[in-house]
Amino acid sequence: MSELVEEIKTLIIDVLNLEDITPEEIQADEALFGEGLGLDSIDALELGLALQKKYNISIDAESETTKTHFASVSNLAKFVADSRG
């Protein structure tokens, strides 16, 4: 799981083109959107697309649980691990 967490941190930095941020600086439990890392709704779409491509998972944009999955890196890692089954 911790490997997946690190992988997702790197993915976030790469696909969102985050400048001057290293994977070590992203806390697994910190908020990704709004506060914390300060990502916005376009980032959410971009990140969702990258996760779908990389892990071949499907994300339901309408679902309330999707919001929870995207709350932090550790939530995303759990979601990816479960979805890959």
């Binding site: 969102l16 083109n17 376009i42 697309l49 779908q52 491509k53």
Partner: protein
């Protein structure tokens, strides 16, 4: 945090326009013949390959993306306009700016920017070899105002129009303008008989 979304051309455009905007709420006219052609081309390639499109690239591929980002990031609430300008971007941009000034806008920033085109387009348009951006701070003449003067003259009846190349054939259309600004003096055809004269007092 928003800088990461800017293309190299948008960064060049921002770098030239930002000091002229100088933290004021000032109207913008952003002129680019091809806009973010590289972004658009990469989206088209993805679409052709059946790949999902990047939402960021999609949002920023529109022609007013640079004007929009510049106005948001500089907190500009005045009108921000994006023009393509077709064959004669200098004419289009300058006429638009002159019109706004004539209508009572006291000052504005006029921006031109282009980037090298993907190879596929080169059969129908010449490409600039480098990214090029020029920003002008234009205001209606006030007595004793510092800076150069710019005069835009309309085609004169009975006189043959000075020859001017289409921006599709002469992609580096900004260069005569830049030389005139550096020299503090210069006259150039901007298209269809219109002429721009840059001069001192």
């Amino acid at each position: 945090m928003q800088r990461r979304r800017l293309s190299p051309m948008a960064k060049a455009a921002f770098a030239t326009a930002y000091p002229l905007i100088n933290e004021r709420d000032i109207p913008l006219v952003c002129c680019s013949v091809h806009g973010e052609a590289l972004r658009t081309y990469s989206l088209l390639r993805d679409a052709a390959a059946g790949e999902a499109l990047s939402p960021t690239a999609f949002g920023l591929s529109v022609h007013n993306a640079i004007a929009g980002q510049l106005s948001i990031l500089c907190d500009i609430k005045s009108p921000a306009l994006a023009l393509a300008g077709g064959d004669y971007p200098l004419q289009a941009g300058l006429l638009e700016a002159a019109g706004m000034l004539a209508e009572g806008v006291p000052e504005l920033v006029l921006l031109f920017c282009e980037e090298p085109l993907p190879e596929m387009y080169l059969s129908s348009a010449r490409s600039p070899q480098f990214i090029c951006a020029t920003a002008l701070h234009l205001s209606t003449s006030a007595a004793g105002a510092a800076g150069l003067k710019a005069t835009l003259t309309s085609p004169r009846e009975g006189l043959a129009a000075a020859p001017s190349s289409s921006a599709f054939a002469a992609a580096d259309y900004q260069l005569p303008l830049i030389s005139a600004l550096v020299d503090g003096d210069g006259r150039m055809p901007v298209g269809q008989g219109w002429e721009l004269c840059i001069h001192g007092e």
